[in-house]
Symmetry: C2
DNA sequence: TTCATTTTTTAGGCAGGACTAAAAATAAAT
DNA sequence: ATTTATTTTTAGTCCTGCCTAAAAAATGAA
């Protein structure tokens, strides 16, 4: 089989492997991948064979999979496309940050050499997407100079600004909307409640542990 | 087979049938369709069976195919999506009118209920695409109040404005660019040359018959 | 009407990408 | 160490869209 261009489906797999490789360490298991791409492990096995033949991944049977340089390049580009589209959808079309994921999943597979560079310029070369994730540059580098921690690591009296989310599921994002929390929201921890991990936030009431550990923040100063 | 949602491929077929039905009159032949969608007649036959089963077309063997109301609705919507994306690509991203067709072919198949309405609003509810073709409304109506004729029907001394093109192939569009002709170009026919159908255009030199019969214009006044 | 030509359909395949069921390899537990 | 449980892979199907080759229907000419 001579496959020159990864199909949409293959791009999805490469992206998924990239993310999972980033989260955990070491090669990615077939099971984890199957969960991520919403396919049965058997289907994943088949796809991995293709990806290995295409030179996009290294795969040893029963030992997990990892990206080659070529595969990583494609994965990063797919992520770049995804995040640029998200910026467009939220900043220009006025979608909520909880509404754009599925749409961007479709748009990211549109094939065109020049399109993303033009969209990037049109959007003003944004560095981060609507969820606070860094947007890879066209040369494949991913730059994120921020020093982010999760909000559950803040000390009482510290103030911080929300810069991203750990969990970017629709449900969590809508919950944040309901609480009035978004990117750029500044706050100060008044008091921790050790019993359930929640904290009182100055002027904003109580935030639960589940919320706090899913917020990426930058400490003020 | 129970098919609720037309696939990208089926949408392409419905769009092609719509266009061909518009051009010629009466049902569309398998051959004409096969040419249009770049597939063999045998493949078209198979697809027509599917489309008929889905209730999108009426198809009698050897008698050609025509759209049902449902099929026409989808075809018009695909065209709407295609043309709105073209406006975006040309007006906002700065692509040339000869560069956007293939890209719009991909974008038109992105499935999302709200997307096109938002894009439409973002673009200021444009009535025409970069080639001068009318953009269907979201209710499925196609409104074009213009009285367009092709430029080869102008009389000497008449002045007119270019409003569209009959042939929107890349090659013709680039040729128009080279001649300095675009939508909105105003001109006046000085003299016809019966021998080859060309005409002298006041201040703009000679335009050939091939150019003139592929320009839609509105007469001034 | 009959023959030749064109158009369309049927029949049989192939590739991609998913599935289920079953086998094989690894990991865990006794 | 041997059995048990889990993970992963193989084997065999299916569906979608395309293909080619061949058969059948329609059309046009003689």
């Amino acid at each position: 089989m001579i496959t020159v261009q990864p199909s949409a489906s293959r791009e999805d797999y490469l992206k998924a492997i990239y993310v999972l490789e980033d989260e955990g360490q070491g090669p990615v298991s077939t099971n984890a991948l199957s969960e991520r791409v919403q396919a049965k492990p058997a289907s994943v096995s088949g796809m991995l064979k293709q990806l290995a033949e295409g030179g996009w991944v290294d795969h040893t049977a029963y030992r997990g999979v990892s990206l080659t340089a070529a595969g990583r390049g494609i994965a990063v580009d797919v992520i770049r496309r995804h995040r640029l589209w998200e910026v467009f959808l939220v900043d220009r079309l006025g979608f909520g940050w909880d509404e754009v994921h599925d749409l961007a999943e479709q748009l990211e597979h549109v094939e065109h050499a020049e399109l993303m560079n033009r969209l990037d310029a049109f959007l003003g070369h944004p560095a981060f997407d609507p969820h606070g994730d860094p947007i890879p540059r066209s040369d494949g580098t991913v730059v994120d100079p921020r020093r982010l921690i999760t909000a559950d690591a803040l000390l009482p009296g510290q103030s911080a600004v929300v810069k991203g989310v750990v969990d970017s599921s629709d449900g969590f994002l809508r919950h944040l909307d309901a609480l009035g929390i978004g990117l750029g929201t500044a706050f100060e921890v008044s008091e921790w409640h050790g019993f359930d991990g929640s904290a009182t936030i100055a002027g904003k009431g109580l935030w639960t542990a589940a919320v706090l550990r899913n917020l990426y923040v930058e400490i003020n100063g």
